[in-house]
């Protein structure tokens, strides 16, 4: 769906961004054209793996089915999922993502530690669309 946003399996799973060689700014989603720091003379943008763990900046959920282009099966009842905005300390940025299935807003607090894990966005008979999920650390399953 979107190339080069994440890589790896299991414990090696990471979000991928890019880092400017001149000013060290990090970009996610990846910025491959030119550094967006207005004070930067412009450097090469190299792919970089983001921190696995961060802290919850905020969270919410969607109790109603999102419209297209989100893909969901209209035949099935809508199952809300949580969305978590996560602050990564080393990169000093916030990345939004879906929570792992089973984690609801009731199980989240601002400041809680979470980690990035591979997940399935949607699948049909022909295709499985993979994505990243945020999972509270200490939660297995």
């Amino acid at each position: 769906m979107v190339a080069g946003w994440f890589t790896g399996e299991g414990d090696d799973f990471r979000l991928l961004g890019t880092r400017c060689s001149a000013c060290t700014s990090v970009f996610f989603p990846r910025e491959d054209v030119c550094c967006r720091n207005p004070a930067c003379p412009g450097g090469g943008l190299r792919e970089v793996a983001l921190s696995r763990r961060g802290r919850v900046w905020s969270y919410t959920d969607g109790r109603y089915r999102p419209p297209s282009p989100y893909v969901s099966d209209p035949e099935l009842p809508w199952e809300p999922y949580a969305l978590i905005a996560v602050e990564l300390a080393a990169e000093r940025l916030v990345v939004l993502g879906q929570a792992v299935p089973g984690v609801t807003v009731a199980g989240l607090t601002v400041g809680m530690e979470v980690e990035v894990v591979p997940g399935v966005l949607h699948e049909d008979a022909e295709t499985t669309w993979t994505t990243w999920h945020w999972r509270p650390t200490g939660v297995t399953a």
Binding site: V2, D61, R63, S72, L83, R92, V94
Partner: protein
């Protein structure tokens, strides 16, 4: 002040779900604004349209579409798109033309025919569009962003869902007094609490609906106003259309991540705060000078955020300001006396213009039951998708 332009006329089409073309709403609003100004359309030297992108092809050329509907008369034409800030950019463009001597009188129009349900991006697979990506990859609707901001306020400032509900109670009470509002019923805190959760912690009655509607202004040079015998018009003294500063560290629509602050220390001032500051600086006033404010209450919680961004109170003090009645009609600084988006709903290209229509009515002392006593200075504040600032300061 030499940088000022006069507001000669303001007009609106009532908001609601009428199911008609944006052209009709825009034309009705434009004619109302011209009537209000006591002007003939043929006297207007320039028309600036705020674009809708949902009205089909003609929507992309709103200025000319409305000019045609009013009757071609050869006016200079401009169409602008800046999402929810489109109306402010239209006002800013009109002002620049007047101050630049390109036109004496400019008609500004915004109108929309909104789709049912959630706003969604235009069709097709467009992974280079952040608005498409947030829906496709995350299913993140506008209300989910409002939910994120609301939860963040609860965690950082101790706001409660009951505080948020009181914003709706206030705005619906005011909207009930406004004949142009879509919702004219007062809402209780119990009704907010009983409405369905849309994006935790926000409920249906915390979130603004989508609506049809139209709004228009007739702006002129001060010299033209004097020649027409309008000696003390409402004047526009500032139009802020600033962009954010890198790094923008508050997660915002439609982005799914913030800028990184690893290389550049973020400014103490957030983007929304900078929108207001630019307007204050241009107008040569501060928050203490305001008689009223019209802010962009996409959600109840977001209205509270604007109190702080406009400098009406310190950081984290918005809920207290609301509880103390400071932002209610009769309070020190009434906010959204029009009823706000809570009562109007979103008609994207029209809403920033509608805010200025309300300021004009109030500053003229023609707002009837919702009149702010002795109103002299008003600000509107708004923010457009993709980093479009929007604030207008009007004075009398």
């Amino acid at each position: 002040m030499t940088g000022e332009v006069a507001v000669l006329g303001a007009g609106m089409h009532p908001w609601g779900k009428w199911g008609r073309s944006f052209v009709e709403y825009g034309t009705v609003a434009a004619r109302a604004a011209l009537d209000d100004a006591g002007m003939d359309w043929r006297e207007v030297g320039s028309i600036v349209g705020a674009d809708t992108v949902r009205g089909g092809y003609p929507g992309y050329v709103a200025g000319a579409t409305i000019a045609k509907a009013l009757g071609w008369q050869g006016a200079r034409v401009t169409s602008v798109y800046a999402a929810c800030a489109s109306g402010a950019q239209a006002v800013g463009t009109a002002r620049a033309q007047i101050l630049g001597g390109l036109a004496d009188v400019v008609l500004v129009v915004g109108a929309d025919s909104a789709p049912k349900g959630f706003f969604r991006p235009a069709g097709g697979d467009r992974p280079d569009d952040p608005d498409w990506l947030r829906f496709r990859v995350l299913g993140a609707t506008n209300p989910t962003y409002f939910g994120l901001y609301a939860r963040r306020r609860m965690a950082v400032h101790g706001d409660t869902p009951e505080d948020f509900a009181q914003v709706k109670v206030k705005n619906s009470t005011l909207g009930a007094l406004n004949p142009y509002a879509r919702y004219r019923k007062r809402v209780t805190a119990e009704e907010v609490a009983a409405s369905a959760v849309v994006a935790d912690p926000l409920r249906l009655l915390d979130i603004c609906a989508t609506s049809d509607g139209g709004a228009a202004l007739v702006l002129s040079s001060m010299e033209f106003a004097r020649r027409r015998g309008v000696t003390e018009p409402v004047r526009i003294r500032a139009v802020s259309t600033v962009t954010p500063r890198y790094p923008n560290t508050v997660l915002d629509l439609p982005d799914i991540a913030t800028d990184s602050a690893v290389a550049v220390e973020p400014a103490a001032e957030t983007f929304r705060e900078s929108i207001a500051r630019a307007a204050y600086e241009e107008a040569g006033i501060g928050p203490d000078d305001l008689s009223l404010a019209e802010v962009y209450d996409l959600s109840t919680a977001l209205e509270l955020q604007w109190y702080e961004d406009l400098g009406l109170c310190g950081e984290g003090e918005a809920a207290k300001l609301l509880r103390d009645g400071v932002t209610a009609l009769g309070g020190r600084i009434p906010v959204n006396v029009s009823g706000g988006l809570a009562s109007f709903g979103e008609a994207v290209p029209a809403q920033a213009i509608a805010q200025v229509c309300e300021l004009a009515r109030q500053l003229r002392g023609e707002a009837g039951d919702r009149q702010v006593a002795g109103a002299r200075v008003g600000i509107s504040a708004n923010q457009g998708l993709f980093g479009h600032g929007s604030a207008v300061i009007a004075v009398r």
